[in-house]
């Protein structure tokens, strides 16, 4: 039994703090070089018209939007240009990694509110995820500035002009919400709010580490209490902004279509990815000799989180699908029809990798307790939800010209390397275990 020995708080000084070693730096640099090389080669091939798919389309009709919200269905734009796919790829990865970063903060926040003790020992890992938020924020805004017209059909002002032949009554009706200034304000606001609360939570957490007398501090844990207040504010903001961000960044690609489940659907996908990412992070750190006091019970709980929220995602996915399937209204079914016909393999693979795989694989108790098995599950789930976001974003933007090629792979390698770089640097700046957290003792003796 790993958890039945008494661990004194003084033993925590034996815990090795994380070091951002030159070796890791070198590995990440290699990954960045490889990713960039793939990206550049891929783009060069694109400029030659290789790898863009649907090469046989002549100019002027570009039917990739397939009417599913009309994304990209703007006649007269001429042949498909590769920059559009590049913007879509950037958008896809930025939205995906924003989710992981945000869920890290969310995880810390809801554990403060739930007064949950067990994750205290691994808390620093999700806590550092938030550090990546400004980067994806800047990328999202830059892509919107450069390629907003390519990705979002609703950004074309003639759609809102009743005298224009392209006047679109449905989209014009949404002008109060879907207009460029408000969109930019919202996006900036999300990142500012999220990042400010991340900084406050992080600051409290680091200040707590400087406390000298642990037992005196636990009588009045000021930093802990303040963290609780910030966490509560964050959760309220998070609840609203994840839904609206999902509408803005993902659902408005197919601007004619809407689903009231969409905010939850995106949140579910983000959440399970973030949980898998932090489980993977913790397990890999443990494999490298850190987190001596993380025992199989902590791993078990992380595994249960992935298991539970994979099912939650499936529930949301299915709830959205079933109602549209059953009601069978053309303007609603077009969203799924487009995906089921043109992305048939991915559409069904999405359910297999994100539901059947974690459900059956993580069901036995042992699978949630063995680091290797949790690693396999986490990698599968993260990859699966990357595809899930691919399925949300690509059909409405690049449609038939989409694919997973050199650029997509290179870009995701760049994002992963960047994410690890930023979070590892932040992790190395503080103790790997928040040693003065009032619930640290409970976490050290976690047993289920």
């Amino acid at each position: 039994m790993a958890g039945d020995k008494h661990i004194a708080l003084s033993d925590l000084s034996q815990e090795k703090n994380f070091e951002f070693t030159p070796k890791l730096r070198k590995q990440l640099m290699t990954a960045i070089v490889v990713g960039a090389a793939l990206l550049i080669v891929g783009i060069i091939l694109w400029t030659q018209g290789i790898g863009l798919g649907g090469e046989h389309h002549g100019g002027g009709h570009a039917p990739e939007g397939h009417g599913a919200g009309g994304g990209g269905d703007e006649g007269g734009h001429g042949a498909f240009h590769w920059t559009k796919r590049l913007y879509a790829v950037l958008w896809h990865d930025s939205v995906f990694f924003t989710g992981i970063a945000l869920v890290g903060v969310f995880f810390v926040a809801f554990n403060y509110l739930a007064l949950s003790g067990w994750p205290t020992i691994i808390k620093r890992v999700p806590e550092t995820f938030g550090k990546f938020l400004p980067i994806t924020g800047v990328i999202l805004l830059a892509v919107f500035a450069l390629g907003g017209h390519d990705l979002f059909h609703w950004t074309h002002h003639e759609l809102f002009d009743p005298t224009s032949p392209k006047y679109d009554k449905i989209i014009a009706g949404k002008e109060g919400y879907l207009n460029t200034p408000f969109f930019v304000i919202r996006t900036v606001l999300y990142f500012v709010l999220w990042y400010v609360l991340y900084v406050l939570l992080r600051k409290m957490s680091l200040k707590e580490d400087e406390v000298n007398d642990f037992y005196a501090y636990t009588k009045n844990p000021v930093f802990h209490k303040k963290s609780g207040i910030y966490a509560a504010i964050f959760i309220v903001i998070f609840a609203i902004t994840t839904s609206t961000a999902a509408w803005d960044w993902v659902m408005s690609i197919d601007a004619h279509w809407f689903s009231t489940m969409f905010g939850w659907y995106t949140f579910a996908s983000w959440f399970v990815t973030g949980l898998a990412a932090m489980a993977l992070y913790v397990v890999v750190l443990k494999d490298h000799g850190y987190f001596k006091y993380v025992n199989e019970n902590h791993i078990h709980d992380l595994g249960k989180f992935i298991f539970a929220f994979s099912i939650f995602w499936t529930y949301i996915w299915f709830a959205q699908f079933l109602l549209i399937y059953y009601a069978n209204i053309p303007e609603e079914t077009v969203y799924f029809l487009h995906r089921m016909e043109d992305f048939k393999f991915l559409f069904f693979f999405n359910i297999i990798i994100n539901f059947a795989f974690p459900f059956l694989f993580l069901m036995p108790r042992a699978a949630k307790r063995k680091t290797l098995l949790v690693k396999i599950a986490a990698v599968g789930v993260i990859f699966g939800h990357w595809l899930d976001f691919y399925m949300m974003i690509m059909p409405g933007t690049v449609g038939k010209h989409s694919g997973i090629g050199l650029v997509e792979i290179g870009m995701v390698i760049l994002f992963i390397a960047g994410f690890i770089w930023v979070t590892a640097a932040a992790l190395a700046k503080a103790n790997i275990i928040p040693k003065n957290h009032p619930m640290i003792e409970e976490s050290l003796h976690h047993n289920i």
Partner: protein, 176 residues
């Protein structure tokens, strides 16, 4: 009427005394019937040498039964016995079957688990509660040792072993 069984009952105040005591008493070769605690004590199950429950495996099998049952039933009724055109869908619209199949899986596995638990613990209507010492629902940890199953030790031996390991009052004999 079943024959009455003789038990020696030891009362402990503190779980930090109880846990080492369980370990030592078992090391002496005394078989402990059970320990009743007012709240869950971590590691008590491992110290008592309990095997992991197999209820999870039973749950999986019951769940699989529920899934099969639902799919068979709905497919037969709506697809073969009395096919009906509902909303222009196929006669076997798989997505429509999911909610019912899910509910049936949950229902059969839940009822099955409750039933398995009751049968395996010998519980049921009319069962008399086993209460060695009512204070085990208050603030005492109560350890019961079945004398019939500990033929290697005399009653006096067991009382002596309990006393060595920190019981807070004289161990008493209870017949159930």
């Amino acid at each position: 009427m079943a024959e009455t069984k003789k038990y020696i009952v030891g009362v402990f105040d503190d779980e930090d005394v109880l846990l080492p005591a369980v370990k030592k008493i078992r090391a002496e070769g005394v078989q402990i019937h059970d320990v009743y605690t007012p709240y869950p004590v971590h590691h008590l199950d491992t110290y008592l040498g309990y095997k992991r429950t197999r209820l999870g495996k039973a749950a999986f099998l019951f769940g699989a039964t529920g899934t099969t049952l639902a799919i068979t039933m709905i497919s037969y009724m709506l697809g073969f016995d009395w096919p009906m055109d509902i909303g222009g869908k196929d006669f076997l619209p798989a997505p429509n079957f999911v909610p019912v199949t899910f509910e049936s899986t949950v229902l059969i596995s839940a009822l099955g688990m409750v039933g398995t638990f009751l049968v395996s613990r010998g519980l049921g209507p009319g069962k008399k509660a086993t209460m060695f010492d009512p204070r085990s629902t208050d603030d005492k940890h109560v350890m019961a040792i079945n004398l019939d199953k500990n033929t290697k030790h005399s009653k006096e031996d067991i009382v002596a072993i309990l006393k060595q390991n920190g019981v807070t009052e004289e161990p008493k004999e209870v017949d159930l």
